[in-house]
Symmetry: C2
Subunit: 306 residues, 2 copies
Amino acid sequence: MNFRVAVVGSGAIGSYYGGKLAYHGRDVHFLVRSGLEEINQLGIDVRGRKESFHLAKVRAYKTTEAIGPCDLVLIALKATNNDLLPELISPLLHETTALLTLQNGLGNEEFLARYFGAERVIGGLCFICLNRVSPGVIEHFDYGHLTIGEFTGFPKPRTQDIASEFKRSGITCDVVENLMRERWHKLVWNVPFNGLSIAAGGITTQDILQDDSLRLSAFRLMDEVILAAGACGNRLPANVTFEQMKRTETMGAYKLSTLLDFEAGRTLEVEAIWGEPLRRAQAAGASVPRLEQLYAILKSLNSRRQ
Amino acid sequence: MNFRVAVVGSGAIGSYYGGKLAYHGRDVHFLVRSGLEEINQLGIDVRGRKESFHLAKVRAYKTTEAIGPCDLVLIALKATNNDLLPELISPLLHETTALLTLQNGLGNEEFLARYFGAERVIGGLCFICLNRVSPGVIEHFDYGHLTIGEFTGFPKPRTQDIASEFKRSGITCDVVENLMRERWHKLVWNVPFNGLSIAAGGITTQDILQDDSLRLSAFRLMDEVILAAGACGNRLPANVTFEQMKRTETMGAYKLSTLLDFEAGRTLEVEAIWGEPLRRAQAAGASVPRLEQLYAILKSLNSRRQ
């Protein structure tokens, strides 16, 4: 049976994962809201030190009506565009269509569940460093790992099936039992490093590590996210801070994609990465003063770019 | 007997207070490190809604050797230039020369005491909104009040004498018994408003008040400074936060001089306003997470402007 996949949002993430599935022969249909002509002409071109591939013929569409019902929808829009999703996704649904959000931060699964029912919703975390140079042209810096989990609880047969589709396309893909814990785990890194790289003046992760005050701020923010995660019922392993710092040290001096986006005048996902975690932390009674302040600063910086 | 005054640092603060003393007939000598020609030609011109005056003939000098010994030295350099002071001040000293620092934040009295002896040192707090447009040309937005106090403790006869010199020149001037408490009191305002106006993207005090998250951040930072002040032995009145917020509400939407300086590429007094208070708070065991993070961010922003 043919497994039809739609990709909504053809930025770096959508182009990479959708492109990789298509390159390995899956039946993938891309919604391309801007740059359709370029993608039709040039395809999807992923370039990197560790990995490069070119998908010459892309099934690209201007609307999701033109795509029609699919078995799996990869959602890779910025969370700041979530208000478009109810209209965009409806034409892609049949009775058992699964919705896999590859978006950052907290609140995206809940949003999809509200409109389309919680049973459809799967969350995916992308551990990857990408940058979209132009429509269809993606720089791949490092990693590529995907972690997926059911929004409503334990993995189902379909979760494993979807993971297999990714694996057969050369994408490392884990299935986890507790999606929310993974989301919080990722925030332990994203909250400090994405946040401070922007708030402290457009700097790299290495700049943060090399400045005593900023490195300390990053550590303390990590502690706050771990505290918040625990208060929200997602206890993280004790060595998570150490492990994340160690990983960061090997990353080298490159600018995060959130920072590149920000510098290019695009909107930050302030609510998904900082606002929603803050609100959940506060609702659970966790004290997160640094997150509160960083959120206020980033929200202000962001509102002045629009 | 003639009372000789030297002004070291002819930015907005030095030009205003020194200019006002000279305008009222005091014997004031200005060290002008840049813009000497303009000041010799055009004098000092203070323009404002509430107050304007023009001092046509300014006693301006390129070196302090040319000024020679004085009874009072007003120090109005940026704290970031303190390393110049030992050499600049020496030629101005006789046995009882008093050094009055009008600089911001914490640590300036200690610096002068280390080089010239604590007995000479007086601290002054300027409650004034000024902007230097060009050498000698100062915009006066509001206020003008001066508060002075002895570094070593209670007021002396000379403290009152100096206050009288200011008062006779139309400058409201209080003498306080506890200089450090006044310094901390002023930081309750400067730490959040100067800091957030820069970190949150070059915004006015009104922008801070009108944004729920930023206003809350300002309140919480105020709480931290009050806590730190108390831990350092300077208990502030219970209503200080309320009073400062109320005062801020009447200020209107103008950009603080620290922000204007920052936007003009000039160096922030990061250590005097955020770094030194943070270090003293931590040494006294006060928990100041927001101050710690704000300091890290501002220090990074500042280092990238130089």
